[in-house]
């Protein structure tokens, strides 16, 4: 457990026209840890992630990466820092195989032609490093894969680029139990391999299964950032639904700011 976070967001504000969606939000992510980002629908999870990933530009706030203040104005900036986001739709192409998908838009070349051998080797090594045993051939078309396998490919694609922070948006939604278990184990392994993982999930059981820290958003405010080992299920439910739980959370929920 490293003391200095890889990613640190401080005091982030974001408005869309007259509607302020995020109020002075703080968020940290540490290498080797899974940070779960939880919150009700409309709490601001997706907006926060899109600010981190450069899709939206924050109105105010500090963005510190590896101890250095940075400015993110586009998804390319975030990718250059080593931040990858796996959205719910996965953004995979059904008509391409696993290797082609993993390198889509960032293909390796040797001279004028694609360097298939290197790409194949890198893809295999990445999947192997994640102990993925569910995929039979890396030359399989993505259309032939199950939901869990697709999720696996999307995650492997995100870690292929020596990324440091991987953000997963509801990776287990719409998966059956067996595949959920595999994806949860994969999420855990990413962090155990040294990445900082941010997991967005509505399923508190999944959150408790793999996370080290829980960050709970409530109506656009960060209600609490706690260690998972210090809280109970009931407390997290309270943080999500009312922004506070006993000593934890926003102490003046109906007021202007905490």
């Amino acid at each position: 457990m490293s003391s200095q976070p890889v990613l640190e967001i401080r005091g982030l504000d974001k408005s869309f026209g007259p509607v302020q969606v995020l109020h002075h939000v703080d968020l940290t992510a540490h290498a080797g840890e899974v940070t779960a980002l939880v919150g009700d629908n409309g709490a601001g999870k997706s907006t926060l992630v899109k600010c981190i990933g450069g899709t939206y530009t924050a109105d105010a706030g500090e963005y510190v990466f590896d101890g250095r203040p940075v400015h993110i104005t586009s998804p390319r900036d975030a990718a250059d820092l080593g931040i990858e986001i796996v959205y719910q739709d996965l953004a995979l192409c059904d008509n391409l195989d696993i290797v082609q998908n993993m390198f889509l838009g960032r293909e390796k070349r040797s001279g004028l032609v694609l360097d298939e051998a290197t790409m194949e080797e890198m893809a295999a090594k990445t999947l192997d490093g994640l102990s993925v045993r569910t995929v039979k051939s890396i030359r399989q078309l993505v259309s032939s894969l199950s939901g869990g396998q697709r999720q696996t490919v999307a995650i492997a694609k995100a870690v292929l680029w020596n990324s440091k922070v991987v953000i997963l948006d509801e990776p287990t939604a719409a998966l059956g139990v067996a595949q959920t278990a595999q994806v949860l184990e994969l999420v855990r392994r990413l962090a155990d391999n040294g990445l900082a993982v941010i997991l967005i999930s509505h399923n508190l059981n999944d959150v408790f299964a793999v996370s080290d820290r829980i960050s709970a958003l409530y109506l656009g405010r960060m209600a609490a950032q706690v260690k998972t080992s210090d809280v109970t299920h009931a407390q997290v439910v309270e943080l999500i639904t009312s922004g506070r739980s006993g000593e934890l959370g926003l102490q003046n929920v109906n007021g202007v700011t905490a």
Partner: protein, 401 residues
């Protein structure tokens, strides 16, 4: 009489074992890296690898590419396809036999479902011997079997591999090691261990607990077994029956347990407890039935959700007790407990958060096995390899290779 210290020969044998262990667990390793890791000088490493190469345990190769200037250091690889052990896993619902090469490669495996009911030792031993015959038929002429290991779901006497108890297999007092050695007829030593103990060793050697000195592995079969490693050593107890955490009483006057007691951890979180609480006892059994409950809970079945939450709560209580007593770095949920943990993690961790001492739990990691359903089988293989790693040349000599 006091001895002055180990002789040159003893040191050499010890070093051979240590080097072989590095290659066995770490895979192909360059001589340069072995020199650093073992803290020995280059000529000693060269002499040791030469001995192991001559014995046919390892081979040396030029690395494919190093990306660095200078003459590349030779890479030492285990002779996985030549030197192997037999590994067996005797669980309540399945029998597995595998041929595992040095370096931990599963070369061949057979698996059969075991019907529940009376445990007849000659039948089980006969099945495993049958699998072995088929596996041996496929081996090359220069391959050599250096041992056999068995993971057994029950209490095994460490001195002679005699099964003392196994409430879930419904057997007690059978000479498993003796019978299996006779049935195999290979003249190799057979070692028998408790499946959860071996699972703990396997996950520590090759799984999610590598480099952990304080580890607890909980294995759910029908009941719950435990393997406890503290300070790097497996807790065996006086007779080898230590670590039976499944029979820790967590609920006085609770559900009856197969061991004769009441309210044991396994009585409250075992397969039967889950299925009964979910109102599904009797129709389906085994892993599939457990998965079906977790699946139903996930789909919103309230009865299944309650059953899982209740079992998760008891499991959390058991883990909290273990955490307070052993202060482990990692607790691993294997077998059917993998499904239960992943399906009821919120309850398990809430319990640990409230019932375990903060200092004991603050750096605790809860994990599922990296080796998946092969954890206990891999443990059996490692048990068999342990004798080879202790003294490689002697072990080869004993099996006449």
């Amino acid at each position: 009489m006091m001895r002055a210290g180990p002789s040159q020969e003893e040191i050499r044998r010890h070093n051979l074992g240590v080097l072989l262990r590095h290659v066995h667990l770490g895979g192909p390793t360059s001589r340069a890296e072995l020199t650093t890791r073992m803290g020995l000088n280059r000529s000693t490493i060269m002499a040791l690898t030469a001995d192991l190469t001559a014995a046919g345990l390892v081979r040396e190769e030029l690395p494919r590419e190093t990306g660095r200037a200078g003459r590349p250091s030779l890479v030492v690889r285990p002779e996985s396809s030549r030197v192997y052990v037999l590994a067996f896993d005797i669980g309540v619902d399945r029998l597995v036999a595998a041929r595992v090469g040095l370096g931990g490669v599963i070369l061949d495996r057979y698996e059969a479902a075991r019907p529940r009911g009376v445990f007849v030792l000659p039948d089980v031993v006969g099945r495993l011997a049958g699998f072995t015959t088929r596996m041996l038929r496929a081996t090359g002429p220069d391959s050599v079997c250096v041992g056999a290991g068995v993971a057994f779901s029950g209490g095994v006497r460490s001195s002679d591999g005699f099964v003392r108890f196994s409430p879930n297999l419904g057997v007690a007092g059978v000479p498993l090691r003796e019978e299996l050695e006779r049935a195999l007829g290979l003249g190799v030593p057979v070692a028998v261990g408790n499946d959860a103990n071996l699972g703990a060793l396997a996950e520590q050697a090759r799984g999610v607990g590598v480099d952990c000195r304080d580890l607890i592995y909980l294995h759910g079969d029908v009941g719950v077994g435990g393997g406890v490693i503290t300070g790097g050593q497996l807790l065996g107890g006086h007779g080898g029956y230590g670590g039976e955490v499944g029979h820790m009483v967590v609920n006085e006057g609770g559900r009856p347990c197969g061991c004769g007691s009441q309210g044991c951890l396994e009585a409250e979180v075992g397969e039967r407890a889950l299925l009964e609480a979910a109102g599904r006892f009797g129709t389906r059994i085994g892993r599939d039935a457990v998965r079906a409950v977790v699946d139903a809970a996930d789909r919103g079945d309230i009865v299944a959700q309650d059953a899982l939450a209740r079992v998760g709560d008891w499991l959390g209580l058991g883990v909290a007790n273990l955490v307070n007593i052993f202060n482990p770095e990692i607790v691993i949920f294997g077998g059917m407990l993998r499904e239960i943990y992943l399906g009821a993690a919120a309850q398990v961790r809430s319990r640990v958060a409230t019932d375990a001492l903060r200092a004991c739990r603050e750096n605790l990691r809860l994990r599922t096995p990296l080796l998946g359903d092969d954890t206990t089988l891999v443990g059996a293989a490692e048990l068999a390899f342990a004798q080879v790693l202790a003294d490689p040349l002697d072990a080869l000599a004993r099996v006449g290779a």
